[in-house]
């Protein structure tokens, strides 16, 4: 103890302290983030991985590299996890049809089995978010009000308060969430596809993710209490309706009222 207090004014003491601080923070962060990824359930068989590897080389390697190490045309897939593959391939975004501001949803190109094999291969490359269990997608266990609050704070700025979608810069956009399956919503949050940020499990816990899904599914199922919702786009579509249909009908009546048989 005495030695420590003697050396506390040593020229290198500050550096040592900084180093110590960094090591502790980094160590803790590494521990925390590996806790997040620890759920990567490895239930894939060796044959899944093998088949997935073949599919990958045939369909994905052009952009992502022979060993998914990435290339100038596509990012590395090491550590993106099975969830990312399941989302991108399962919604048809991958393989990408053409280059553009972002990958577009389209009819999916692979069967569920092939998607699973691809996911198995990518998951074998490094730990990452896994395809969520049914338990985490069960909307009967979620709380839609809590999910709504999380949605408004984290998601609505891009996806719109009613999940109708919205614009991002330079042609990118946040899609509408109507009709997106529970699993894909979960995976999107966990992996952050396209321009979406990653909401990992310390950011939004799996239970909270389930709440968000519950909220989305509930507002989708309940319909619109007030009549046709005009795309849930807010005052713009409302203004458009009153200036076209509203005023149009009014003008038709004014013409009728002032017309005379002459």
């Amino acid at each position: 103890m005495k030695a420590l207090s003697q050396r506390r004014r040593h020229p290198l003491a500050a550096v040592a302290l900084l180093l110590m601080g960094l090591l502790i923070t980094g160590g803790l962060y590494a521990a925390a983030s590996s806790v997040n990824e620890a759920q990567a359930a490895t239930t894939y068989s060796a044959s899944d991985v093998n088949e997935g590897n073949k599919l990958f080389v045939a369909n994905c390697a052009t952009c992502h590299g022979m060993n998914a190490e990435g290339s100038p045309s596509g990012p590395s897939l090491v550590g993106v996890g099975a969830a990312a593959v399941d989302f991108q391939v399962g919604t048809g975004r991958m393989p990408m049809q053409m280059n553009g501001p972002q990958a577009q949803e389209k009819p999916k190109q692979f069967t569920d089995e092939e998607t699973k094999q691809l996911a198995a291969y990518v998951a074998s490359l490094g730990a990452g978010p896994a395809v969520p269990d049914e338990e985490l997608l069960d909307t009967s266990k979620g709380n839609s009000a809590a999910g709504g609050e999380i949605f408004r704070v984290n998601c609505a700025m891009c996806h719109n308060a009613a999940a109708a979608g919205g614009a991002l810069t330079r042609g990118k956009f946040a899609p509408s969430l109507a009709g997106v399956s529970e699993k894909h919503i979960y995976e999107a949050m966990a992996t952050g596809p396209q321009n979406m940020p990653v909401f990992n499990d310390s950011n939004i816990t799996p239970d909270e993710k389930r709440d968000v899904i519950t909220f989305l599914k509930e507002i989708e199922a309940q319909g619109s209490p007030g009549g046709a919702q005009l795309g849930s786009l807010g005052p713009v579509s409302e203004g458009l309706l009153i200036w076209t249909a509203g005023l149009g009908i009014v003008i038709a009546f004014t013409i009728w009222l002032t017309s005379r048989p002459s």
């Binding site: 609505a156 919205g166 005052p235």
Partner: protein, 555 residues
């Protein structure tokens, strides 16, 4: 004064009516007002639509006040709408949720109120456009134009204060923008904001204050202005389009009683029916989607109602920095630095210009044309190409800003880049009004030329004749007198060069006026004179032989 009437009613109803009439003089008012003549044209009815939607607003608004609680105290929502159950919100939001889901007919009444508000401002706007493009604002109606402009501003104020009341996310975001604009006012902005919100935004006072403005002060002012507006309409008499028998000194149309009383009464219910049908079928301002206000989230697709959209659009168009040039200026004062937030202040300039020019236009036009006569006959827009050009320029300027408020939806729905939409709209902000003026004026002049052509040579009959020589020509048919009158009876301003004043000096403003006059009226199409008509018809005798009536118009 005792009643000197000899009239003795026979029935008891008659006696009661006579009792009331001899004390309030209603029959005299009905006699005067009931014989008031109003001309008939569909474009004259938008003012009525505005009036009726305002009545609908008063009725539905009264219903809403029974249930709305303008308090910003915190509460936990526990109503019928499940996705918000247990969520913390203000009492104002909770009571609006209750109106929507737990008051019988409440959601319908909310939607009636909101839809009729949108239609109200739209009707006011279209009415003003009609008045502008037909020149109905000219002497003696300049002041009524100003009253109408004030009504438009008040309508926007009524709309915005109402939009902000439910304290949902959308309205809170709107208030935040207003707060930002107020705070951008140099030196006093922060003080005004603190005064308005009772401290730092959002505070706990603003909804209650806006509520007082929304249900008392603004509607009272609108009612007062409507009173003045209608009084002046009665005093000035209604304008009319030009037509045979219609002069600057008469009004041709139907009397208020009984024709217009019935038509207008029926029209009220038609408008009410349209609003009710829209409210029944289409949702508006679904606050349950937006959720309670919280200063941190801003939802995509956050826009104000349409009538505030153009101001929001001006803000969206304004760049924050231009290359290395920042629009935020920091001005050092002895007491410390003051910020001049030009990227928020400058977008308010177009709004001020547009509204200022709108109010001042009757005087601007009078100054340029030196036309100080009374006008009770309306212009067809094509017959005032300069005014139509200016009006279209203003409308396009407005619409560019209006579009900018929905730039994100344009981007997503037309699959284009948001940045490109903004760049195009920025260019159109400057070029649009200029192009609009030129194109609209040219179209108006061309239509006038077409009218001239039709007057002089008749309308194309669609019958092709082959002459004995083998040439082809189309038959032209002369118009009947009534249609001809419409095409020849208009006034066309001529260039008025700068004039010297009494001491022979041409002032600078007079020179400017002369230049504008030259710019506006250099190209003009004069109305066809009787002599021209006769000459034209004389030359084309075979073509118009069929109709001999057209001679009578020349007298």
């Amino acid at each position: 004064m005792s009643s000197t009437t000899e009239y003795r009613p026979k029935t008891s109803t008659g006696r009661i009516a006579d009792f009331v009439d001899t004390r309030v003089g209603a029959s005299q008012i009905v006699k005067e007002f009931g014989r008031k003549i109003f001309p008939d044209h569909w474009s004259f009815m938008f003012g009525e639509v505005a009036l009726y939607t305002f009545v609908i607003l008063l009725i539905s608004g009264t219903f809403l006040t029974f249930f709305f609680d303008p308090s910003m105290a915190h509460t936990t929502y526990n109503g019928s709408y499940n996705p918000l159950k247990g969520v913390q919100m203000s009492v104002a939001m909770a009571s609006t949720m209750d109106i929507s889901f737990d008051v019988r007919g409440g959601l319908f009444m909310r939607q009636v109120h909101h839809w009729s508000a949108l239609l109200f401002v739209a009707a006011v706007s279209v009415h003003m456009l009609r008045v502008f493009f037909t020149g109905a604002f000219r002497r003696p109606r300049e002041l009524n134009w100003v009253v109408g402009g004030t009504l438009l501003v008040l309508a926007m104020a009524a709309g915005f204060t109402g939009y902000s009341l439910p304290d949902d996310l959308l309205s809170g975001n709107g208030l935040r923008i207003i707060d930002g604009v107020i705070k951008a006012i140099p030196v006093v902005g922060t003080f005004i904001s603190a005064f308005l919100f009772g401290g730092e935004f959002p505070g706990t006072a603003i909804v209650g204050r806006l509520y007082m403005l929304h249900i008392m002060l603004v509607p009272a002012m609108i009612l007062l202005m409507i009173g003045i507006h209608l009084f002046m309409v009665v005093v000035h008499k209604h304008t009319q389009y030009r037509g045979p028998g219609r002069t600057n000194d008469n009004v041709v149309g139907f009397p208020v009683g009984p024709v217009y009383a019935a038509k207008a009464g029926g029209f009220f219910f038609i408008v009410f029916g349209i609003v009710a049908a829209i409210s029944g079928f289409f949702t508006i301002n679904p606050i349950w989607n937006y959720g309670p206000y919280d200063p941190s989230p801003v939802s995509a697709g956050t826009q104000p109602d349409w009538y505030i959209g153009w101001v929001d659009g001006a803000l969206r168009l304004m760049p924050g920095v231009l290359g290395n040039f920042s629009f935020e200026w920091i001005i050092p004062f002895p007491w410390g630095d003051n910020n001049l937030i030009l990227n928020v202040l400058l977008p308010m300039v177009p709004a001020a210009i547009l509204i200022g020019a709108m109010f001042a236009w009757p005087w601007i036009e009078r100054w340029i044309t030196k036309d100080n006569r009374e006008h009770h006959l309306l212009d067809r827009p094509r017959n005032a190409p300069f005014r139509t050009g200016v009006g279209v320029a203003g409308v396009i300027w407005y619409c560019v800003m209006w579009c900018a408020a929905s730039s994100d939806l344009i981007a997503t729905h037309f699959h284009v880049s948001l940045n490109d939409v903004t760049y195009w709209l920025r260019a159109l902000f400057f070029l649009g009004p200029i192009l609009g003026f030129i194109v609209a004026r040219r179209i108006a002049l061309s239509l006038q030329r077409k009218d001239r052509e039709i007057v002089l040579h008749g309308r194309e009959a669609g019958v092709i004749e082959m002459s004995p020589e083998g040439g082809f020509s189309e038959q032209h048919v002369a118009l009947d007198e009534y249609k001809l009158y419409k095409l020849v009876s208009f006034e066309s301003h001529e260039v008025l060069p700068p004039e010297a004043d009494r001491v022979g000096h041409v002032t600078r403003s007079e020179k400017a006026r002369g230049a504008i006059s030259k710019f506006f009226f250099e190209d003009r199409v004069a109305p066809v004179t009787p002599a021209e008509l006769e000459a034209a018809h004389g030359h084309h005798a075979p073509a118009i032989e069929a109709s001999s009536e057209n001679a009578s118009i020349e007298r």
